[in-house]
Amino acid sequence: MQPFIEFDGVDHGYGAEGPLAVQDLHVSIGEGEFAAVVGPSGCGKSTFMKLTTGLQFPRAGTITVAGERVTKPVRMAGMAFQAPNLLPWRTTMENILLPLEIVPPHRQQFRAKKQEYRERAEALLARVGLEGAGEKHPWELSGGMQMRAALCRALIHQPKLLMLDEPFGALDAFTREELWCVIRDLHAETGVTVILVTHDLREAVFLADRVFAMSARPGRILAERRIELERPRDLELTYTAEFQSLVHELREHIVTARK
């Protein structure tokens, strides 16, 4: 079977002559897979995301997403970043609906199908534990609630690919673990392919099917580790010896790379 996302010998740097941000990436991710990319800061994780979604194009090598070579923004991706980036002049509901105002075919049907879309958004809000918060403005929500809303925005157009760039970095430990479970369940229910970029190794091991460890700049894949832990995974799992040893093993790779 052809992988959903494939990087073949990808080099990329910013500017025509700038130093390489990522080097010789070979990655293949299957449809519905949950992949995590971990590494020290500045290892080109964000570049990896931009390359996958078609916001940047590689200097060398090829990237294929859903059987097509990436030469323009992929359109099927939902994205969420560390900063929720909700628009303060829109209500939470209007923020979540924003992608539908842009992505075809919804864009053309937006007025006609508004009611249907709103119901879809309500369902998503309920799914992430934000029932009834749609009419509030984002600045009336806490950081964790804003992040949940940003997740809804990333998922509203039912993307086949969800890109998360350190989405929980700014949250407290408890909220973070709650949101791990939200993401875990959303992935299980929708079968969306997820790429999670993080520097939290526990987060990566808990959520992912496969973890890619990257080196410092220029980012290269140091190790690829399949996480065989059985699903559905419970938070208790993070305290088991098996889990700890996986985290430890990944940490070794990154520590070695930093030397």
Binding site: K50, V74, R75, N85, W89, I102, V103, P104, H137, W139
Partner: protein, 256 residues
């Protein structure tokens, strides 16, 4: 209403009264002659005495100013959007605009008079020229400071540059735009009065020049008072519009 908000309400009026009272007192105590610095009471008496003329001239100035300001809003907004939209246009036009803004407008008035003759046209144009720069800069800043991650989110969905402008850029630039109106309106007064005092047959600027020529010092100050009043009034109108239009941007309790 609690005590604090009561104080907050009366503090602008109180400070005005205190300044005027001090002024009056200083003139009396130091026996300053009226042709140097008239007492506020004399100035108010002059305002009452010349009320019809003052009303006529200040209305004239207000209308010219608002025409110039209106032009500044239209062109400032348009140019700001253009400059904020494209880095190339920004690079090309910005130095030119800065250079133009640095030229003292008093030096431009004679040229405008040469082209359009004496009257309301050069006054309105001077008001326009002096007040449109802050609008352009603010609108362009609002557009240029879109969070790059948000841009990525939308671009990855296939949003065009125009989409990003419509959905994010323009709403985001609105608080900057409305904020700049407060600066622009006061500058517009500076422009129109400047032009009127250099070359005009009407307006509060001309009125003050005539008062000066006849050595009617209280009338000169009367003109200043009226200008100050109009400036505050229009500023408040702009502040009100700003608050109405972009309430979402003013949610901080910092200055309360």
């Amino acid at each position: 209403m609690n005590r604090q908000s009561l104080f907050l309400r009366i503090s602008p009026i109180a400070s005005l009264i205190i300044v005027l009272a001090l002024w009056e007192l200083i003139v009396i105590v130091f026996n300053i002659p009226g042709y140097l610095l008239p007492k506020p009471s004399t100035i108010f008496a002059a305002i009452v005495e010349y009320w019809p003329a003052i009303m006529r001239e200040s209305t004239y100035t207000l209308v010219t100013t608002m025409i110039g300001f209106g032009l500044a809003v239209v062109f400032g907004l348009a140019l700001g959007l253009l400059v904020g939209y494209s880095a190339t246009i920004y690079a090309g036009l910005y130095p030119l605009m800065v250079a133009f803004n640095a030229i003292p407008k008093v030096a431009v008035v004679p040229i405008l008079v040469l082209w359009f003759g004496i009257g309301a046209v050069p006054a309105a144009l001077t008001a326009f020229l002096i007040s449109f720069f802050p609008i352009v800069v603010n609108v362009a800043t609002g557009l240029a400071t879109i969070e790059s991650e948000l841009e990525d989110v939308l671009k990855a969905l296939g949003a065009s540059k125009l989409d990003i402008m419509r959905k994010v850029g323009i709403p985001r630039a609105l608080p900057y735009f409305f904020g700049s109106l407060k600066i622009a309106i006061t500058l517009a007064f500076v422009g129109s009065v400047l032009s009127e005092s250099v070359a005009s047959n009407h307006g509060i600027g001309k009125f003050m020049m005539m008062a000066q020529a006849q050595f009617q010092v209280p009338l000169i100050f009367a003109g200043l008072f009226v200008l100050g009043f109009m400036g505050i009034a229009m500023y408040l109108v702009m502040a009100w519009i700003e608050k109405r239009m972009t309430g979402w941007a003013h949610r901080s309790g910092f200055s309360n």
